[in-house]
């Protein structure tokens, strides 16, 4: 179940090992997934001075598109850290241990326990949605292990884990954005499209992410005159959305927003087209972030708008080697043959932050000190400026997304055009906002 990377080591796929490991575990059928990346290296494994970074992401299951670029990023970071880092007055090797949350909270908690108790990592990084980031952070907080998470709305991460205004976590931190950035951006795009009414269809399932939207969006929309049509929290992975669609049609909602699971959005959007529900502007969250989703929706992808927190056009650079966002995306395309995705920049930055926190501490094995480094972290890297002291709550750094829309691409079938940079003018737009239908 482990994929570990040692700087300087070459990846070696070991399917047999994975099958053996999986056979020893009981539970769901997806267990073997992505376990076959047993990597061994020649580096300084076994040296007690080696720093271990644990990384958890949903490499399989319905949220797997979030982790599609992980292998590439880990390879990049491994190369960048191959000479090790200087931490606590000593030169140390860095080892990265990768775990798969299989898109479930229980599995995420289990693999984090493994990282902490078996692999004895010095810091745990987690990516993509509260389903993975929250249980990972909970385990880290309970065991006193420093942690950074990303691609999770901060409200779902902070309030979703039982903290109240004014309280704080000691070991766990995150960078991403929250309801304010979502609502600012989406309502600005709604206002610019020239809809004849201000009725917004909201497709929010009953999960951590969507419930954060359900409590965060309506209070921000009300004062701006937007009317919320929320048919209610449905269960993920349903096969039919006709009841939601008929409500949206009955209300004549010209604007649409949502936070479903990616496969559910595919079902919904096709069915909406069949049932004749064509909103003037669809601004979606959590889905349509990645090219594979755009491809599989075919023609119906055109002009769906979403939030973009990282793209090759963002004027950001790596703290490891000065590589620009554009170069990172180009390298990804060359090495994997695939189109860039937003997760590239975020996951890359997780490792930038981890390296900086470990090297900034006078003793990188002192968890309290590393945690303090994270809480006070200020860094300007692949995800732009991140200030963990200036967020809405302690230990949270805020990114400001721009608006993007999928349109026919040149090299790949669909490209993300940046269409609304009102809230982050550092990023240049590459197109105009257009109606979805």
């Amino acid at each position: 179940m482990t994929a570990s990377v040692t700087p300087g080591g070459l990846p070696r796929r070991s399917v047999l090992k994975a099958i053996g490991a999986g056979a020893a575990v009981t539970g769901g059928a997806g267990l073997l997934a992505a376990c076959s990346k047993g990597l061994k290296g020649t580096g300084s494994t076994g040296d007690s001075g080696t720093l271990k970074i644990g990384y958890v992401s949903p490499q399989t299951g319905p949220l797997a598109s979030f982790a599609a670029s992980d292998n590439f990023v880990i390879k990049q970071v491994t190369d960048a850290l191959s000479k090790g880092i200087t931490a606590g007055g000593k030169h140390r090797g860095v080892q990265i241990v990768v775990k798969d949350s299989q898109s479930t909270t229980t599995r995420a908690a289990d693999v984090t326990k493994e990282l902490i108790l078996t692999d004895k990592v010095d810091i745990v990084l987690a990516s993509a949605t509260p389903d993975t980031a929250n249980p990972v952070a909970d385990q880290c907080e309970a065991n006193g292990v420093p942690n950074v998470s990303t691609i999770v709305p901060w409200e779902a991460w902070f309030f979703g884990r039982g903290k109240k205004e004014g309280e704080s976590f000691k070991y766990t931190t995150m960078f991403f954005f929250g309801m304010k950035e979502f609502t600012d951006l989406f309502t600005h795009m709604w206002g610019s499209i020239g809809a004849t009414n201000k009725t917004v269809a909201c497709l929010w399932p009953n999960d951590t992410d969507a419930n954060a939207f359900r409590s965060g969006f309506p209070p921000a929309m009300g004062p701006k005159g937007y009317k919320v049509i929320d048919p209610g929290g449905y269960q993920d992975e349903i096969s039919d959305f006709s009841s939601q669609i008929s409500r949206f049609k009955a209300a004549d909602a010209e604007l649409f927003t949502c936070t479903p699971l990616p496969p559910d959005f595919q079902t919904f959007w096709k069915q909406a087209a069949q049932q004749g529900y064509r909103p003037k502007l669809a601004t979606v969250a959590k889905v349509m972030l990645f090219p594979s989703e755009a491809d599989s929706l075919g023609q119906l992808t055109n002009n769906i708008a979403t939030d973009v927190w990282w793209s090759p056009s963002h004027p950001y650079k790596s703290t490891f080697d000065g590589k620009t966002a554009q170069q990172l995306a180009d390298d990804f395309a060359t090495q994997t043959g695939k189109q860039w995705s937003q997760a590239l920049g975020s996951v890359y930055s997780l490792f930038e932050i981890a390296a900086k926190a470990l090297s900034g501490a006078s003793d990188p094995k002192d968890r309290d000190e590393v945690a303090h480094q994270l809480q006070t972290m200020k860094i300007e890297g692949m995800s732009g400026q991140l200030d963990f002291t200036a967020g809405p709550q302690p230990g949270i750094a805020i990114q400001t997304p721009v608006g993007g829309q999928w349109r026919k691409g040149k090299k790949f079938p669909w490209d993300m055009y940046l269409v609304d940079n009102t809230f982050n003018p550092d990023v240049a737009t590459t197109g105009d906002l257009q109606p979805t239908s």
């Binding site: 997806g30 073997l32 319905p62 096969s239 006709s242 009841s243 049932q275 989703e293």
Partner: protein, 288 residues
């Protein structure tokens, strides 16, 4: 009108569930095997159709036409080589064998195709529908799926009850020893039953891949709905499977119209109610 739409969509959705459940029903009805890899074989068929369409430039329907016999052949071989052996050991062995297949298929697909979501692109048909009124539209794709489901299930039921092979199949199912005495080769017949089942699984997988999107991990969810349709309708009865699929689809959409939060719950509650109060299912096998 919204309620009428919910009922219509429920019946159409039921067609898809019944199509999924058909193969499960046959394999259970004839061999008493619960195929836990059922949903994963449907996903496998979807990926194969995707590859065929990608490689040859054929439309997804033609890709489906190519993939269905391939899966039928896979089914025959699987029965002769793997399932027949495990049948001799006992019912638990077949469960474990199909569970193992499920794990293997998911991981092979993950290695081969990555975790990306895909769909079979059917162009304009994906959004085309028959508009009956503002609130009532019938998607052509859902209609095609429904008609296919009815044709397949009715056809197979007639095949099993009217033809010589069908009668031998049922005889082998009832008493393999006695059937062998009068000249029926039960292993070959079981192979045929599995290949028919796999052909319907492939069809269901391809139709689902056009309707929604698929990735290597969605098989088990599909299995649950298929399993519920089979149990609601009555184990081993194809008429029952058709009815079971529709009851499940209707329960979901009508409850969803009432409150979207109840969609899946309503289906599960019906399933539990049938198990508790009518465990033989709505149309049990013996009554046909």
């Amino acid at each position: 009108m919204a309620w009428v739409n919910a009922v219509v969509q429920g019946i159409l959705l039921g067609g898809l569930y019944a199509l999924f459940a058909c193969g499960l029903s046959i394999v259970f009805g004839v061999m008493r095997i619960v195929n836990l890899a059922h949903g994963d074989f449907a996903v496998l068929a979807a990926f194969l159709a995707y590859s065929v369409a990608d490689a040859t430039g054929l439309g997804p329907f033609w890709a489906g036409v190519i993939v269905i016999p391939v899966l039928a052949a896979v089914g025959y071989l699987l029965q002769r080589v793997l399932l027949q052996r495990s049948l001799g050991v006992g019912p638990l062995a077949t469960l474990l064998a199909t569970f193992g297949l499920s794990v293997i298929i998911q991981n092979v697909l993950l290695q081969t195709y990555s975790a990306d979501a895909r769909a079979l692109d059917i162009g304009r048909l994906a959004s085309a529908s028959l508009r009956i009124s503002g609130q009532l539209s019938i998607s052509y794709l859902a209609l095609i799926t429904f008609v296919l489901a009815v044709v397949v299930l009715v056809g197979l039921q007639l095949y099993l009850s009217r033809t010589r092979t069908g009668r031998m199949l049922r005889a082998s199912s009832d008493d393999p020893e006695a059937a062998r005495l009068v000249g029926a080769d039960s292993r070959h017949l079981y192979g045929i039953a599995t290949s028919i089942a796999f052909a319907t699984v492939a069809l269901a997988g391809v139709m689902f891949a056009m309707r929604s999107s698929f990735d290597p991990s969605i098989g088990p969810t599909r299995l649950i709905f298929a399993f519920e349709a089979v149990v609601i309708g009555g184990l081993g009865s194809l008429w029952g499977t058709l009815v079971g699929g529709m009851v499940l689809g209707l329960a979901q959409t009508v409850a969803g119209q009432f409150d979207p939060a109840l969609t899946l719950l309503a289906g599960h509650v019906i399933f539990l109610a049938v198990l508790a109060f009518r465990p033989q299912g709505l149309i049990p096998a013996r009554s046909t």
